[in-house]
């Protein structure tokens, strides 16, 4: 084993300082009493109180949450189906086009995805609103879900599924009773990924949203364009806190599941 040198320690310290300092500063300044974001004037939570009273932000948060729940759920269903098709169905007409359409949105610049969807919605006369944002978000996040799920499906033993079918399961039951429980962690992380992608998205939502359906990122972007504001700092702090708690608890849960699985395998082997 090679030594963990002072060079490694320095680069990690500097690297993580670079990654985290901006966010730490943002959080600290959200508790600043002064309206001027660069001058410290004592501790205060007044910006949080103002934020709660700001109806425009609350409305936008509600729209964002609804869009994220609907689009990530739809994307998980469609993405899991697509992953299953990609991994299990080897031959059907247009398979190359299908896998191309799964991978292309991952590398497509957001401005182009947004522009093209907007032109479609106008072309078919669909009024822009929550529905169009959900459609747009579902389309790009289902591709992320299918990449996550298909990597799990590839590593999974196909003979388990075949055994279930030999024992009298219909293909659908075999999927529901055998495959789904095994790929469940990937499906859940796919859902989480789709959910955060939807919460985060500014560019595609700006194209797909109508005047009556402003999402939180759109609202933040238009506020931030005018400059730094303590209210946005407070809002950002809340969002950072939610994500941090979410990611840490998700990793603890998966760690515990891994430990439990290991224990079960050991017990089974001891038999």
């Amino acid at each position: 084993m090679r030594r963990f040198s002072w060079f490694n320690a320095t680069s990690l310290t500097l690297g993580f300082a670079f990654l985290y300092l901006p966010m730490v500063i943002l959080v600290i300044y959200s508790f600043n009493a002064s309206k001027l974001v660069t001058v410290w004037a004592g501790f205060s939570t007044k910006w949080y109180a103002e934020l709660i009273r700001n109806e425009a932000f609350l409305d936008a948060a509600w729209v964002t949450l609804r869009v994220a729940v609907f689009s990530s759920t739809l994307a998980t269903i469609l993405g899991t189906m697509a992953a299953y098709v990609l991994v299990r169905a080897n031959r059907f007409p247009g398979r190359t086009l299908f896998s191309g359409m799964i991978y292309a949105p991952l590398v497509m610049p957001e401005v182009i995805t947004g522009l093209s969807l907007l032109l479609l919605f106008i072309g078919i006369g669909l009024d822009r609103g929550v529905l169009t944002i959900v459609l747009a978000h579902t389309t790009f996040s289902m591709c992320y879900v299918s990449v996550v799920v298909s990597s799990r499906l590839t590593s999974f033993d196909k003979s388990l599924e075949e055994a279930a079918q030999d024992l009298g399961c219909s293909p659908f039951d075999a999927f529901r009773l055998v495959t789904l429980p095994i790929i469940a962690p990937a499906v859940i992380s796919g859902w989480l990924l789709a959910f955060t992608l939807s919460l985060d998205d500014l560019v595609i939502a700006s194209f797909a949203a109508g005047p009556s359906s402003t999402t939180l990122p759109i609202k933040i972007f238009s506020a931030v364009r005018l400059g730094v504001s303590p209210e946005i700092n407070a809002l950002s702090t809340i969002m950072i806190a939610i994500v941090t708690v979410g990611v840490i608890s998700a990793s603890l849960i998966s760690k515990r599941a891994a430990v439990r699985q290991e224990a079960e395998t050991r017990n089974a082997e001891r038999g």
Partner: protein, 296 residues
């Protein structure tokens, strides 16, 4: 039957919401701007049958693409996007490699925590991470206050609303994309190869260049593409951190569409951007495939 539904549902969804919209962009890029709603001609009128389709085809031309070459703004924007994306990819590599290397060298029990610390910012809103820099890079911002306090500078620097701020923003937001693939490659490396190189007379530095770097090449290449491709079409970073002189094609497209309402030119800008991206995307796919083959 079930198999058919399983294939058809995601297939039709992607056809309707990915391929068709893209074809519409292609069509509008070949159309002319008009003072109507929607603001372009010709419209495809299927009720007139074949004659309508022919009239539609004859109305298409490459005028918008020709227009892109006549106005300085566009090719300058493409060039400066390429330059910004390329330079910031190199800078991200220079920052990311030592971090990935440090994680790969760290004691085993630290690694999951360190990796989580790299992934955590990725889950945090992109917009917020860019916004965080606005308060730091300001003329009255913390960076200037700090540098003034140290006495390094006597007058505050203008960093926000310049290209420098855009570089900082890109390096900061895309750093996790660089660290993770490089770490994945370094982690798989066999440590005994380095010992062998040193036993055979390599210095530690030359062992690094002759063994570690070539063996982590696939991760470096993947990381570079994962930064370069999205950075090229970036919109949020140049519009929040960049200034009026920052030209990036994502921003130009956005303004062409929302401010000038010139849909045909915006579509042509999008098509050219995609043509530029095709080469790196194909190279990236090939790299991923080679990597999979090497592992499988």
């Amino acid at each position: 039957m079930r198999r058919l539904i399983l294939i058809a549902v995601p297939y039709l969804w992607l056809l309707a919401l990915f391929l068709v919209p893209f074809l519409i962009v292609l069509k509008i890029s070949l159309s002319d701007i008009a003072l109507s709603i929607p603001p372009y001609t010709p419209q495809l009128d299927l009720s007139e049958g074949w004659a309508g389709f022919r009239a539609f085809l004859s109305g298409l031309d490459f005028e918008n693409f020709a227009f892109l070459t006549t106005d300085d703004l566009y090719w300058k924007a493409y060039l400066s996007s390429l330059q910004i994306a390329l330079l910031s990819t190199v800078m991200t590599l220079l920052c990311g490699f030592p971090i990935a290397y440090g994680i790969a060298r760290a004691p085993h029990e630290w690694r999951p925590t360190l990796l989580m610390l790299v992934i955590l910012p990725f889950w945090t809103s992109f917009l917020i991470r860019v916004y965080a820099w606005m308060g730091i890079l300001n003329t009255e911002g913390l960076l200037n206050q700090f540098l003034l306090f140290l006495g390094v500078i006597s007058e505050p620097l203008t960093i926000l609303n310049t290209n420098t701020a855009v570089y900082i923003g890109i390096v900061y937001t895309y750093l996790p994309f660089m660290i993770l693939p490089i770490y994945a490659a370094l982690e798989k490396m066999d440590e005994s190869l380095l010992e062998a190189a040193e036993d055979l007379g390599c210095s530690r530095v030359s062992a690094f260049w002759l063994v570690t770097v070539p063996l982590s090449k696939s991760g470096i290449v993947a990381g570079c593409f994962l930064v370069f491709i999205p950075a090229l079409g970036e919109f949020v970073i140049p519009s929040l951190l960049g200034g009026s002189q920052t030209l990036m094609i994502g921003k130009v497209l956005w303004e062409e569409f929302f401010s000038n309402r010139d849909w045909p030119v915006a579509s042509a800008v999008a098509i050219v951007l995609l043509l530029i991206l095709i080469v790196p995307i194909i190279l990236f796919q090939r790299n991923q495939q080679l990597q999979r083959e090497a592992e499988g």
